[in-house]
Symmetry: C2
Subunit: 194 residues, 2 copies
């Protein structure tokens, strides 16, 4: 069972534009070859930041039109937020703040034999990384550059480097890069070397 940061990003390392738009991603269209259905089927617990959650909230009407449901996940979901946010009808959501360790423990308990998904954003994934709780990064690189925006992973991770596990083309547009987080001496900018 792993804690995985699975996300799409631009070639230049952004999750979204400065104003949290992922229209550039949606414009690439549905991808029948997507690895997401197989990925989410193995996920037992989800964590996300307030911006990611708020994006789902803003697009609830579209989701209902598309899928019949405003909330796409059956798994229990922890939303890190400092603001009050409404609960999406039908969502198994709990709002939390503070240290990711306690939440990770709860996620592990809830997920059982399945994986834990850090859905974003980048700083939340970074907090799990800082705490030594992140096992894998799975990035679907979109064929665009944004030049500015919300960073994929605002951390210095070079020593040890990530461990490249897999490289695959997915459909017409995406390159999926899979990495294991290196264990041992770390230079993560928010975590002093052990």
């Amino acid at each position: 069972m792993k804690t995985q940061y699975y996300t799409a990003a631009s070639l230049d390392g952004f999750l979204a534009t400065p104003d949290d738009s992922v229209d550039w991603l949606m414009a690439l269209g549905d991808d029948e070859a997507s690895t997401f259905p197989a990925f989410i089927a193995e996920v037992g617990a989800i964590a996300m930041g307030a911006n990611t959650y708020a994006w789902i909230l803003r697009h609830a009407d579209e989701a209902i039109a598309l899928t019949g449901a405003a909330w796409p996940y059956a798994q229990p979901t922890w939303v890190f937020t400092h603001r009050d946010l409404p609960v999406v009808p039908g969502a198994d959501v709990r709002f939390v703040r503070g240290d990711v360790r306690a939440v990770h423990n709860a996620m592990c308990a809830a997920a059982g034999p399945r994986h834990r998904w850090i859905a974003g954003g980048g700083d939340l994934a970074g907090q799990f990384l800082d705490a030594g709780l992140l096992d894998e990064l799975i990035v679907s690189v979109a064929p665009v550059t944004l030049g500015a925006g919300k960073p994929l992973l605002p951390r210095l991770v070079t020593a040890p480097p990530l461990q490249l596990q897999g490289v695959a083309r997915v459909g017409a547009h995406f390159a999926e890069l899979r990495y294991a987080v290196g264990r041992g001496a770390s230079d993560s900018s928010t975590q002093p070397p052990a």
Copy 2:
């Protein structure tokens, strides 16, 4: 004959740290599987920015120790700079500034049947892109994140998106992503739609 931006970058889209260090790249070691020897053999002209050139200057002693020569390229090289920089002994270098179009014409004439390489940095590659002169991006994604630094391509390129041409694992560490620059309507942030 194509004009190609071939470079290494971190997973989060940086060419170098904020202080122009690529030690994180050097630390990954020589890669026998590198595609660079085959790439450079097909290059007939090179353009680079002042920071890229200055980096080579600063590492001339190491290059001499390693290869016997301070300057690694046989091809004529155009260096875009607003400052006075010394010429590396043995280098076929000309210092230029201003519009990339005139330089591109000269590069095409010099390269003949071979490709033109934009070696970096990101903004120089962006200037060739803005002018409609860039044909391909070839990015060796290193298994690191820097969190900050010199951007791969500080431009908005989403409509049309880049066209993914190839995805390959190269050696233990690198994912090589190849893209053709889409022609047609452009939203490049420094180029108004045609």
